[in-house]
């Protein structure tokens, strides 16, 4: 394999692994937060405003980790800087 092929293979595999791990683990965290919030809302419906706002803020915090992974895998697939380096004069 020449260098460009290695870069392509590694980029594709890394993009897939990034999106898998980066959605799996934040989804687990969001599941726990959502379960607790729904339990609390059914126990105390009066506090549902405060609870759902805090739930949104917390979910946004967890979600941003997944978004980091999404951005990295999108960069690896669509605008890969290493691939561009390899296919232009620099890598030859």
């Amino acid at each position: 394999m020449d260098n460009a092929t290695i870069v392509a293979v590694v980029s594709i595999i890394t993009a897939g692994a990034t999106i898998v791990l980066g959605t799996m683990l934040p989804a687990y965290g969001e599941m726990k937060a959502l379960i607790k919030a729904l339990e609390s809302i059914t126990q105390q419906p009066d506090a549902s405003n405060v609870l759902s706002r805090n739930l949104f803020v917390g979910l946004a915090m967890i979600e941003s980790l997944a978004i980091y992974c999404l951005v990295i895998s999108i960069v690896l697939i669509f605008t890969n800087p290493f691939w561009n380096f390899m296919t232009t004069a620099g890598g030859k």
Partner: protein
């Protein structure tokens, strides 16, 4: 596939190149300004108010109600800044259904600018409320050694504000593009509808997080 509206050059004025981000930001700004100016040009305080004035009053009272709930303080000093942020992001995201429109929030430049303005607004509002000395002292709570951690948290939350909004909106428009090339009928429509929900939720989250940051800055620390 072009995923960055910064690289789409529409036209140029002299030597200044106008890309899609700047152009559509101007469109959203003009839309908000003109609509607000037209509505507020004839306000009335009588029993019968114009219909559009009612709409604006609903928006303003929602924003100030949210700020009052989160910060527990008088919302008037913060309503203008936070409400502008929220409404601007909301309109940017919702205009995605207009053909040929690229949301400015799908460019990292726009979201980074918005996040940096929140970054500077937090100490400004804190100093305006509590005075310079109390605000500087809040960085040394509970002990002196917490200063680096306060600074790291301010910077990292600014980065996460910017990347969260950018990632959500950019990935949504990218997803619509990918589905358009795979299944051109009906499925992109559902993705667009889902994108509207994402846009509203992200605008609300940006607004709420900015409110939380400013609220934690203006409330008195560790007294």
């Amino acid at each position: 596939m072009e995923i960055n509206p910064d690289n789409m050059q529409l036209f140029s004025i002299g030597i200044i190149k106008i890309n899609a981000t700047i152009f559509y930001t101007w469109i959203v700004m003009a839309l908000l300004t003109v609509v607000s100016a037209v509505i507020t040009s004839r306000l009335s305080t009588g029993a019968k108010i114009p219909r559009w004035q009612g709409a604006l009053e609903v928006i303003v009272s929602f924003v100030s109600g949210q700020i009052r709930q989160v910060t527990g303080q008088d919302p008037r000093p913060y309503t203008a800044f936070l409400g502008t942020l929220g409404i601007f992001i909301l309109v940017c995201n919702l205009m995605e259904v207009v053909p040929l429109y690229h949301p400015p929030t799908s460019s990292l430049s726009t979201t980074a600018a918005l996040a940096v303005s929140v970054f500077f607004a937090v100490p400004v509002f804190g100093i305006m409320k509590n005075g310079l000395w109390a605000h500087v002292k809040s960085y040394f709570q509970p002990t002196f050694f917490m200063l680096p951690f306060h600074i790291i948290s301010e910077i990292s939350r600014t980065v996460s504000l910017a990347v969260r909004l950018f990632g959500n909106i950019m990935s949504e428009s990218l997803m619509v593009g990918v589905f358009l090339s795979i299944v051109p009928l009906f499925v992109p429509l559902a993705m667009q509808a889902f994108g509207l929900v994402i846009g509203v939720v992200q605008a609300y989250i940006f607004f709420t997080l900015a409110t939380v940051y400013i609220g934690s800055s203006v409330s008195v620390h560790g007294e």
